[in-house]
């Protein structure tokens, strides 16, 4: 009798047990991307639905949520079929309010465990600091800290569009970041985890910018964030971004073009390895920096028809490439140091590490101090291979 009772209890507990507050995965909207725009600017466009739904006419944030359309059929190669994703937008004062507005409009609650990317409009970042905008996602336990943060010069919600229904725009953005080994114009990914630290440190930094047109996207330069205010103050172009990645040593595998002086014919150098060093100097209270770049690579394209031996071609090309890099560096530094007067490369880091005492003296107004500092650079380029042509006979 006792045994039977025990067995019964065990049986019942296996049947009745389960997760306390479980939700079926089919009944959840899996969010994969978020775009945050300036609510004032998009108010006109989005009026139709949000005006009826709330008493406020406009809000600070217009947030677009992209989630996976689980019921969609797989589109065929001709572009037929349903879109794999759905975008929903809402206008409101805060992120959390906006998410709850979605609950008034969609049948399934949104969850953020799989959010891969957050795109913030540059215009919005000029008005509101990134700490405020990201606060909700940093506080919430759903969004992971590995989530990527990007800036968009145009409306951020357009970056979550695509013409091809088979493409999920959030995943496309994420995939492009992984191409960093093919291009010198992609920054190290800025994740929510790093945003937390950056937004509390006083140093300035860059956020990768996404350009968008008609459902197509392109990584194009970067937005400059001033460390003191955490607001965006401007952009640097793709070419200038190469200058930055050269200095930081993150330019892994980007092609650097140079042009032959007489004929104007191009030759391209592909970076194989790059070692960059920023060396701070403090002499009698005066700070200066040396940049040393040491790179080896391949001559990957050469339009000039040359009968000369490979050593000669190499030394000529090396010289040209070096000049080209110097030009890029000069242009980049002029832009960031003289024009925007911010240190986005990380000179402050080197000073902090090598000369902590000097750093403590200047750290409160570093960007202004930095703008006046002399920076010298020396570049070494070595061609170690020519691909499958021009080999030594």
């Amino acid at each position: 009798m006792k045994k039977a009772l025990l067995l019964l209890i065990l049986l019942i507990s296996t049947v009745l047990s389960g997760c306390w507050s479980s939700k079926e995965i089919e009944d959840l909207s899996l969010n994969v991307g978020i775009a945050i725009d300036d609510g004032d600017q998009l108010a006109e466009e989005m009026r139709h639905i949000d005006q009826v739904s709330s008493s406020q006419e406009k809000g600070d944030l217009a947030v677009t949520f992209q989630y996976i359309n689980t019921s969609a059929t797989t589109p065929d190669s001709k572009g037929g079929g349903q879109k794999q994703f759905t975008n929903v937008s809402a206008i409101g004062n805060t992120n959390h309010q906006n998410i709850r507005v979605i609950s008034l409009r969609e049948e399934n609650p949104i969850m953020f465990h799989h959010t891969k990317v957050i795109v913030v409009s540059g215009e919005l970042l000029k008005k509101i600091g990134i700490r405020e905008i990201m606060d909700f996602y940093l506080r919430d336990s759903e969004a992971r800290l590995s989530c990527l943060v990007l800036v968009s010069k145009g409306p951020a919600k357009d970056t979550l569009q695509s013409k091809d229904p088979a493409v999920i725009p959030s995943f496309r953005l994420l995939g492009i970041v992984d191409n960093a080994y093919r291009s010198s114009r992609i920054l190290n990914p800025m994740t929510l985890a790093k945003i937390q630290g950056e937004s509390y440190s006083k140093s300035s930094y860059l956020l990768q910018n996404v350009y968008t047109e008609d459902g197509e996207v392109k990584f194009s330069g970067a937005g400059i964030m001033r460390g003191k205010t955490n607001k965006l103050i401007g952009y640097i172009s793709e070419d200038d971004l190469t200058g930055i990645t050269l200095i930081t040593g993150d330019a892994k595998g980007g092609p650097i073009p140079a042009f032959e002086k007489q004929s104007g014919k191009p030759m391209v150098y592909e970076i194989e390895t790059i070692k960059s060093k920023i060396i701070p100097h403090v002499k009698r209270g005066k700070i200066s920096f040396d940049i040393k770049i040491d790179s080896e690579g391949i001559l990957s394209e050469n339009w000039k028809d040359s009968k000369e031996p490979s050593e000669k071609i190499a030394s000529e090309a090396e010289e040209l490439i070096k000049e080209e890099m110097e030009k890029t560096l000069a242009r980049t530094l002029k832009k960031t140091q003289k024009h925007y007067k911010v240190d986005v490369v990380g000179f402050d880091n080197e000073l902090r590490i090598k000369y902590p005492k000097t750093w403590n003296r200047v750290k409160d107004d570093w960007d202004a101090t930095f703008a006046e500092l002399p920076i010298k650079y020396s570049i070494k380029v070595k061609i170690i291979n020519y691909g499958n042509t021009d080999a030594r006979s």
């Binding site: 507050s21 992971r144 800290l145 937390q196 509390y200 902090r352 590490i353």
Partner: protein
């Protein structure tokens, strides 16, 4: 009855016992609490030095316990400093262990309800936890030790795996400069880091149950050494990934370290649930030990039957764990516990040891 050979534990078990006791709720918040005081990337050094201090304190307690073979602190403190003072110290210990035990339950239910079981009421998480602990303690110290023997290697393996996988977000610059502002901030951090090794007091009780009590020093050194290694690795990885500016603003920085990366192409992409699992097991270990030690105190000091004490403590554990209302109150309870631990196990054992040695010589 309690002293037969079946109830003895081996040296290895004692080592794992101590390690399991030390590693608990602290590891998820340690980087924040230490960096908040130290404010330089050298915080890990402070953790290392704090560990060495803990070892010294641990060895003092071993020496003290070795003066009275086969007796726990509750039993020999009476002989040492007289009945009244001894009882007072014993009762303070019991109160401390009961509250610490409840505190572990509370952190567990807080973190799990926030991170994994959103919507599940706190009592539904902590009650089964407490009951299972009760069930385990039916098997006395040996079943505790055997459980830890199984759980601990798993914890070590999983922990090292998830921390080492974070190397992708490892940035050396966040750890430099080394001692840029001198040793001063590191020493300031010691006030926090010694707390992290609460649990080194296990030797006040364990020596009595060891098969070879003469090896207790060795098992203390290893028992505290393993947590030191854990803590230093955690500190280095967390600071390198999140930077000191980021660490101080995260509530659970260690968990955030695991949340800051995804492994593509592996069977699993994200590993925070793994960390939470081993962390829950470690909290369970610490909970059981403190529960056990509290019960041991009451039953040895007042000669009450095992079962009654074990059952009688259950409601207290639950109620105390439910007392703090906000997360701030939980953390300040942790602070109070840390401070009382320093008084109870930092300052008192050394005079006791000197007294014991002196008495021994007189005799």
């Amino acid at each position: 009855m309690l002293m037969n050979n079946r109830n003895k534990i081996t040296t290895v078990q004692a080592t794992i016992f101590t390690s399991s006791y030390i590693l608990a709720s602290g590891i998820l918040t340690l980087p924040r609490t230490v960096v908040a005081v130290v404010k330089t990337p050298d915080a890990w050094l402070s953790v290392l030095i704090g560990g060495c201090i803990a070892i010294v304190l641990g060895v003092i307690m071993v020496k003290l316990s070795q003066c009275y073979p086969g007796k726990t602190i509750y039993q020999y403190v009476n002989i040492l400093i007289g009945n009244w003072a001894g009882k007072t110290y014993g009762i303070l210990l019991v109160i401390y262990f009961v509250v610490l035990s409840a505190y572990e339950v509370r952190t567990l239910s807080d973190v799990t309800s926030y991170m994994i079981l959103e919507g599940t009421p706190a009592w539904a998480i902590s009650m089964p936890f407490i009951w299972i602990g009760y069930y385990l303690l039916q098997g006395w110290i040996t079943s505790l030790a055997r459980l830890f023997e199984i759980v601990f290697p798993i914890s070590v393996a999983v922990f090292l795996l998830v921390i080492l996988m974070s190397t992708k977000s490892f940035e050396m610059d966040n750890l430099r400069p080394f001692l840029g502002e001198g040793i001063q901030p590191v020493l300031k951090g010691l006030t926090k880091t010694v707390f992290a090794y609460i649990g080194f007091e296990s030797m006040l009780f364990l020596v009595a149950y060891m098969e070879k009590p003469e090896k207790a020093v060795k098992s203390t050194i290893f028992g505290i050494g393993i947590p030191i290694l854990f803590y230093v690795i955690t500190m280095v990885a967390v600071i390198a990934a999140l930077s000191i500016d980021g660490v101080v603003h995260r509530t659970w920085p260690t968990l955030d370290l695991i949340r800051s990366y995804e492994m593509k192409g592996l069977l699993f992409e994200r590993f925070e649930s793994f960390l939470l699992v081993i962390w829950s097991m470690q909290i369970f270990s610490t909970f059981c030990i403190t529960y056990f030690v509290a019960f041991l105190g009451i039953s040895q000091m007042f000669n009450i039957k095992t079962q009654k004490v074990l059952l009688g403590l259950l409601p207290f554990l639950f109620l105390i764990s439910m007392t703090p209302r906000t997360i701030d109150e939980v953390f300040s309870l942790g602070d109070i516990l840390g401070k009382s631990a320093i008084i109870l196990f930092g300052f008192i054992p050394l005079p006791l040891l000197i007294l014991a040695k002196w008495k021994g010589r007189v005799r």
